[in-house]
Amino acid sequence: MIEAQRLEKHFGAVTAVREVSLRAADGRITGLLGPNGAGKSTTLRMLYTVLVPDRGDALIDGHSVVREPLAARARLGVLPHGAGIYPNLTARENILYFGALQGLAGAARRARTAELVKLLEMEEFADRPARGFSQGERLRTALARALVHRPRNLLLDEPTNGLDVMAVRALRRLLQQLRDEGHCVLFSSHVMQEVSALCDEVVVIAHGVVLEQGTPEEIRARANAGSLEEAFVRLIGAVDR
């Protein structure tokens, strides 16, 4: 469970995010939807404790990202935007490294890594050096790395960027599976189809402000629009004017 309370972040004179509050519940996939530069990444980065909010706070399973960042991080699996992996390590070693940093040891660490290699269908390239991996292979490695400590909450920043159709479908299936196991999944995207295909809950964000939160159906109805896309365009348009 992730709860953000009036998060605010400035970079110099620019206000990136203002009074952002949102809730991502367990067993739900929540989509953070907004145009480029809306403040999606800044919001997520405050949630996964890489940025410190100027004001406000967020709770990860009840742990404050400001006051107990270590406890919050332990409950988070994170796939940052353009997540890089270590080119001189194999995919398996990349995962093992994060397993160790997450406090796994010995046989448990190796077993969990093997489990993820199987779950994400990485057998073919698991023991090859990551140098020269395709975009899809890199993403699966980064995803396995984020899941190695079985986090209750999963944060993904634009996870489908640069993926082909097959890889996107595989990712969707995985996120749905995690949701069904009771995990809290929060991901950002600027692609409407992706959000409407996957999300139980949508948070619309633009210019650093949350415009709407609810199920796709609720948002569509409240905006009195025929589709989620129409509702989105109306919401964004209202702010732009």
Binding site: V50, P80, Y86, N88, F98, L101
Partner: protein
């Protein structure tokens, strides 16, 4: 503490697979310095030996005007070639390098010599030609000897004791020992040791900070539930281990190479037994964490791999600054200077190789101050990793 170790093991292993790091830390650095020094020494040695053995070549114009001088020169190993140059031809011949020097006997040489007046000779040589400077000095010395001989004979003929013309007698007494004569070489050696040591950790320091950020793997790393300073401590530790390996290999290579260069033929000796090599390594070791922390800190501030490379290449020169100042000011080692990292190591290494006793207070101050500065830099690097500006 376990995270520090995890990061260390990963960085150490990953860089074992990085050809650039391996090459500079474990192969190029440790081999280049010793080979450079040995090559330079051998070259100098061979040239020095060749010069004093070679017959002195001298072109003489109008030698028939001074037959006794020619006999004297030939007796002293000069190979005389008669030429018929006038002044312009002599200048041209020397300038073009056809001959290294020309001795020209003036027309009135014999006449003035007989009259007891200074008899004129002209020696043409090119002062800017370094390879010939030794030769013309030898010719001038021989002619000087001949001149002094004639002078003594003239005095004796006139019934005057020739010793009256030599009121002073200066004797040069050289107190240098073979070990102190090698001081220039030793200065170069300690400088090369410090340089290769730093080079050994350079690529790892860049890769672990600027490289990690450029690849986009820094952000995921910062989301693990580990205090962030521990991550950078692990990276500094890995850099330190590579530097220590590089240091040990370099010193070992120097010890082996210097054994085969034959410094004794120079009249020099270097006290570089295995035990001394070990002491050199131990005395330089405190500089390892200092260098590793400094390079990591600087690389972590830069925005890209290439920028980090530029800065660290400059940083490699930093330990040479105190060495250069000490050389310019002619500083001699004393206690206060042991508080200057890199300079103190340089003095300690040099003293060790000259087989001089090291005061315990020097060693203690050098090690203490160097480690204290290292601790400060490591803490500063930890502080940097706690700041969110790190992500750039």
């Amino acid at each position: 503490m376990r995270a520090v170790l995890t990061v260390f093991v990963k960085e150490f292993r990953e860089n074992l697979r990085e050809r650039r790091t391996l090459l500079s830390a474990l192969i190029l650095g440790p081999l280049l310095g010793p080979l450079l020094l040995a090559g330079g020494l051998t070259l100098r040695l061979e040239r020095g030996v060749g010069e004093s053995d070679r017959a002195l070549q001298l072109a003489v114009a109008h030698g028939e005007r001074a037959p006794n001088l020619l006999i004297f020169l030939r007796e002293h190993g000069v190979s005389v070639t008669p030429v018929d140059y006038d002044e312009a031809a002599a200048r041209a011949a020397v300038r073009s390098g056809r001959v290294q020097q020309v001795l020209s006997v003036d027309m009135d040489f014999a006449e003035r010599l007989a009259a007891g007046a200074p008899a004129p000779l002209e020696l043409y040589a090119d002062a800017s030609d370094l390879t010939g400077s030794g030769d013309s000095a030898r010719v001038r010395a021989l002619i000087g000897q001949y001149s002094a001989l004639l002078g003594r004979l003239r005095l004796a003929v006139r019934g005057i004791d020739p010793l009256l013309a030599a009121p002073l007698a200066v004797q040069d007494i050289d107190v240098s020992t073979p070990a102190t004569r090698s001081v220039l070489i030793l200065g170069t050696l300690s400088y090369l040791v410090l340089l290769t040591m730093l080079m050994g950790g350079m690529y790892l320091a860049i890769d672990a900070t600027a490289g990690e950020r450029e690849r986009g793997s820094l952000e995921p790393l910062l989301t693990v539930p580990v205090p962030r300073e521990q991550l950078i401590y692990g990276k500094i530790l890995a850099t330190s281990v590579y530097m220590a390996l590089s240091l040990s290999l370099t010193v070992a290579a120097f010890a082996i190479v210097l054994r085969f260069t034959g410094l004794e033929r120079f009249g020099m000796s270097v006290n570089f037994a295995p035990g001394v090599a070990l002491e050199v390594i131990l005395l330089t070791l405190p500089l390892v964490p200092l260098g590793a922390a400094l390079m990591t800190l600087v690389a972590a501030y830069t925005r890209s791999y290439r920028e980090a490379q530029t800065w660290l290449a400059l940083l490699l020169l930093v330990p040479t600054v105190p060495l250069a100042f000490a050389g310019l000011l002619g500083l001699r080692p004393h206690l206060a200077l042991m508080a200057v990292p890199s300079l103190s190591q340089h003095f300690l290494i040099t003293s060790l190789l000259r087989a001089e006793a090291l005061p315990a207070s020097w060693v203690a101050l050098s090690v203490g101050v160097t480690l204290a500065i290292a601790a400060l830099l490591i803490a500063a690097a930890g502080g940097l990793y706690r700041r969110e500006a790190l992500l750039g």
